[in-house]
């Protein structure tokens, strides 16, 4: 047990969250190991986004523990959790409306070196941050949008910028909330390739997604959430055959 705990990058132990009598999460236990891509699926209102909000400190868990690399982060403020290594994107994209793509790639980077550096013009005071932003810009193919203001960007580009911003925080674990929503097939194929590439660089990914093909082709482990509880866990082929899952989720969707 303890050996396994040490291996897990992220571990949730019996986490519960209640909103005015409604149990949004009940006794959720989940773990993500290094360099794994883990999916969370479940019908609308199953508690998936709540789960992300509890992990990133946007909500406090009522019970249970969230641990990052063995250390409890349950009570930490959001910014500390990000700095410790968990970055995220949002289901309804949350960019800084008045800032350019380039500024998004600078703003979330961890500060390194002398304190004074953050008060001086970034271009020459923080060349490391500057070149990391440049790198990320190229990685996501955003060169043409460098000086575009976020609110003017197309939806698909906004998704990319959000993901790029999360990556510049140098996370160990990336949480993606419906990353392919609104993307066409080419874009989602491109994203899949990118995520695999990031995993090769040592990143672990936890993602919520409604696009079953995307999840089943990408994730190594899949958790199924329904009414705030984990009802199944396994690799994609196990999940596909699980009668509980078929009944709770896939079946319901097929019936629609």
């Amino acid at each position: 047990m303890t050996a396994a705990a040490d291996q897990a990058l992220l571990r949730l132990t019996r986490v519960s969250k209640t909103f005015g009598g409604i149990r949004a999460l009940s006794d959720v236990s989940l773990s993500v190991e290094q360099k794994r891509i883990v999916g969370v699926i479940g019908p609308n209102g199953a508690g998936k986004t709540t789960l992300f909000n509890v992990i990133t400190g946007a909500y406090r868990a009522d019970a249970g523990e969230v641990a990052l690399a063995g250390e409890s982060i349950t009570q930490w403020p959001s910014y500390r959790i990000v700095r410790a290594g968990i970055a995220r994107t949002f289901q309804n994209i949350r960019l800084f409306a008045g800032m350019t793509v380039w500024e998004h790639l600078l703003v979330a980077q961890p500060h390194q070196g002398a304190m004074m550096r953050r008060f001086l013009p970034a271009r020459w005071a923080d060349p490391a941050a500057w070149s990391r932003a440049e790198e990320t810009l190229v990685l996501f193919g955003l060169q043409n949008y460098r000086n575009s203001v976020a609110r003017t960007l197309a939806y698909g580009i906004q998704r990319k910028v959000e993901m790029a911003r999360a990556l510049t925080a140098k996370p160990k674990l990336l949480l993606l909330d419906e990353p392919v929503a609104g993307m066409n097939r080419d874009e989602s194929t491109e994203l899949r390739r990118l995520l695999l590439q990031l995993r090769e660089r040592g990143l672990a990914i936890l993602l919520i997604e409604h696009d079953m093909t995307f999840v089943m082709n990408l994730c190594e482990d899949v958790y199924v959430l329904d009414f705030g509880a984990v009802i199944a866990l396994g690799n994609p082929s196990e999940i596909r055959r699980d009668p509980v899952v078929l009944d709770a989720y896939l079946g319901r969707e097929a019936a629609c």
Binding site: R94, V107, R118
Partner: protein
């Protein structure tokens, strides 16, 4: 040479520029302060006390006043964390009035009768501070800290969730803004060589905000344009005699109707600086 009258106007522009910058700095994090005349008053009284009673040199007195006002700004910043939009504006307005009524009852420095004895400062000295503060802000605007402030302005929750310490950013802005307003106050006191609590009332705070909104609330240089227009336009409109303030009001409304972000914004500024470097 410029006349005493013109020098007085230019001094007013410099002082208003500092006041406007103090609002701009706080506004950059999305917080609207209608109480910066309070910080200005604190700066004016502390600097005057130090130069008149303790015979400090003015520069040292201004720096000391800035530090005290900055600390008070941080204290004001904490309750401000829990308030947003109009509620925050009302609370800061309350702070300004609190400061004003404190000095009204502060007999040690004249109370409602005001305080005098300061040495008059030169126009150059005022503008050294004003230009210095503007350049400082313009430099900071290119720093990562300023990006963090703008991120908090645009979406505070998201800023926290991408790893920014929003609490520190917002409180820091109040501290910095308070310091700049205090400098404006200290210079004001030594420009007019007389201060009274009524100098630091609500109208003064509104002037600061107006200069920022008119000149452009998303770029520091906007404060310069706003401050200049706010002081000089009513002068240029003097030929309208009794109607000049009404005409000024109409102009203000027209500008805001056509350019909600103020006269200058980032896009326009980028265009202007590009053209200059191209030619």
């Amino acid at each position: 040479m410029i006349s005493t009258y013109e020098a007085g106007l230019l001094a007013d522009v410099g002082i208003l520029l500092l006041g406007a910058l103090s609002v701009y700095i706080i506004l950059a994090t999305g917080q609207l302060s209608l109480g910066n005349a309070g910080f200005m008053g604190i700066g004016a009284y502390i600097a005057s006390f130090l130069t008149v009673e303790l015979h400090w040199p003015l520069t040292a007195a201004l720096i000391a006043a800035a530090f005290v006002a900055s600390a008070i700004g941080v204290v004001v910043g904490f309750p401000a964390l829990r308030l947003k939009g109009i509620y925050l504006a009302m609370a800061t307005l309350g702070f300004g009035e609190m400061v004003r009524s404190f000095f009204l009852g502060f007999e040690r420095m004249g109370g409602s009768a005001g305080y005098r004895g300061m040495q008059h400062v030169s126009l150059g000295y005022i503008w050294a501070w004003a230009a210095g503060a503007l350049l400082l802000v313009m430099t900071l605007e290119r720093s990562r800290m300023w990006l963090e402030m703008r991120a908090v302005h645009d979406d505070e929750t998201a800023a926290g969730l991408v790893g920014l310490n929003t609490t520190l950013t917002k409180i820091g802005a109040f501290g910095f803004g308070g310091a700049v307003a205090a400098i404006a106050g200290g210079l004001f006191a030594h420009q007019y060589v007389y201060i009274e609590p009524a100098n630091f009332g609500f109208e003064r705070s509104i002037d600061f905000v107006l200069a920022v909104i008119l000149g452009g609330s998303t770029v520091g240089v906007g404060a310069l344009i706003g401050a200049a227009l706010l002081v000089l336009l009513p002068e240029w409109l003097r030929f309208l005699t009794d109607w000049r303030l009404a005409a000024f009001g109409v102009l203000l409304i027209l500008v805001l109707l056509t350019r909600r972000q103020g006269i200058l914004d980032r896009a326009l500024l980028a265009k202007l600086t590009l053209r200059r470097s191209a030619s």
